[in-house]
């Protein structure tokens, strides 16, 4: 990796925070990936503009992954380009990793880490912590995991290159996801308990609202995500109906 300076690598890492900036339905993360690679490609192909263009073209092609874990592919692609691997090898590598990086990242970050930390923040708030404490705790805990995952992925990709898959397997991200989901169940219970018994919560709203809320909870539990949009529609319709009814009486 002698041909890429720390500064160039830092630039690519910083640009990775904008990897979804031009997300589109044709190439998805492709243009963002090329944007993040560009400082390194300019340095690697400083004396061969045509080779640089070819390299940018192959990174502009379709690519999709979880934005945080796309740093694994970014680091590895930088290594492959620096080692002078041919374009087809780089292309094959990116095609092979995009699915796993998307699936692992969605399960770990969107379906486990984010809701777990969000529940922790909400629980703190409902248990009476000052609002700024709950929000600050949410941001600090979430971003410790977020930035740590991005940095780990970038470093792992740079170190391992196309063999980064083994490093991903050793990291056992699936086990980590399972643990975070278990903690989430306890945090969800904590929030439900705090809302049921806390000041200004369902207890204060009265038993009839409590019964309706428990039925709504059971509805969500039995029916699942299909119920989310109808619930939002019913809630908006109920508010509109009550406001109209109030106007007419």
């Amino acid at each position: 990796m002698a041909s890429l300076s720390r500064r160039t690598l830092a630039s690519a890492f910083a640009r990775s925070f904008m990897i979804q900036g031009s997300w589109n339905y044709q190439t998805m993360l492709g243009s963002g990936f090329a944007f993040a690679m560009l400082p390194a490609l300019r340095r690697l192909f400083a004396e061969d503009p045509e080779a640089m263009r070819d390299s940018v073209r192959r990174h502009l092609e379709h690519f999709n992954a979880h934005p945080y874990l796309s740093n694994v592919a970014l680091g590895a692609a930088l290594r492959l380009e620096a080692e002078g691997e041919d374009g087809d090898t780089v292309r094959r590598f990116k095609t092979a990793v995009r699915g796993p990086l998307g699936g692992l990242g969605d399960a770990l970050v969107w379906a486990a880490w984010l809701p777990a930390v969000s529940l922790a923040g909400l629980s703190l708030l409902w248990l009476g912590a000052p609002g700024w404490v709950a929000v600050l705790a949410f941001l600090v805990i979430y971003n410790a995991g977020h930035i740590g995952l991005r940095a780990w992925g970038f470093h792992a990709g740079l170190q391992e290159g196309s063999a980064v898959g083994q490093r991903l397997s050793r990291a056992s991200l699936g086990n980590l996801t399972a643990r975070v989901r278990a903690v989430s169940a306890a945090l969800l219970g904590l929030l439900v308990g705090a809302v049921l018994a806390g000041r200004g919560g369902l207890g204060a709203a009265g038993p009839s609202w409590g019964v309706v809320a428990i039925l709504a909870f059971l509805g969500g539990l039995v029916i699942g995500p299909r119920l989310w949009r109808p619930t939002a529609v019913v809630l908006v319709a109920a508010v509109a109906f009550l406001a109209t009814w109030g106007l007419m009486t």
Binding site: S31, R58, W110, A111, L187, G201, A216
Partner: protein
Amino acid sequence: MMEVLRLSLVGGLLALDATSVGQFMISRPLVAGLLAGWVSGDPPLGLLIGALLELYLLVSFPTGGARFPEGATATVVAVATAAATDGVGAVPLAVALGLVWGQLGGFTITWLRRLNGRLVPVPDGPHPEAVTWAHLGAVGLDFLRGVAVTASGIVLGRVAVAAVVRAWPLGARGSMGLLLVGGAVSAGIFLRSLGGFRRRRLLFMGGVALGILGARFL
């Protein structure tokens, strides 16, 4: 006027965080609510609305190509509307407005993503290095989209909510009960996504017990 402009700029910046730049989650309703509350001069109100919308959007994530409600601009619109309106009905009306505006914000994200497809250089085009300006241009458009969604929501929302808030028939407790019922559905959906009640009953019920004790004694 200046307040609407300030809030719209906040909405634009928070909209960027959701997908385009950073994803530090300052765009989540919990954070956006507090920020919008500060700008509107009522942080506790911002926090309350942010917490309610956070609970609703607990099961909504910015995944890949999926269309999702935009929480950041929706929260800023809801808080700015409630802060400018007196009356018990301000919070439920603003939260309902936030849910509607979140969906509209999601539609504008889809439109922008279609536009981005025309903006970025194609892989076999003549000037691939133009990707830098195309990419930054797309980020700039996302900011402007967030500003426009927030500004239009605040202006229309304040007019609409002011027209009906005095007729709101429920008291403060009933209003909160109604809003928490919506959050209860999200909580149920999330427990199902974790494997369901049977699989998680010990952890979940242990959490409930701790939550009740904490709410009573803290």
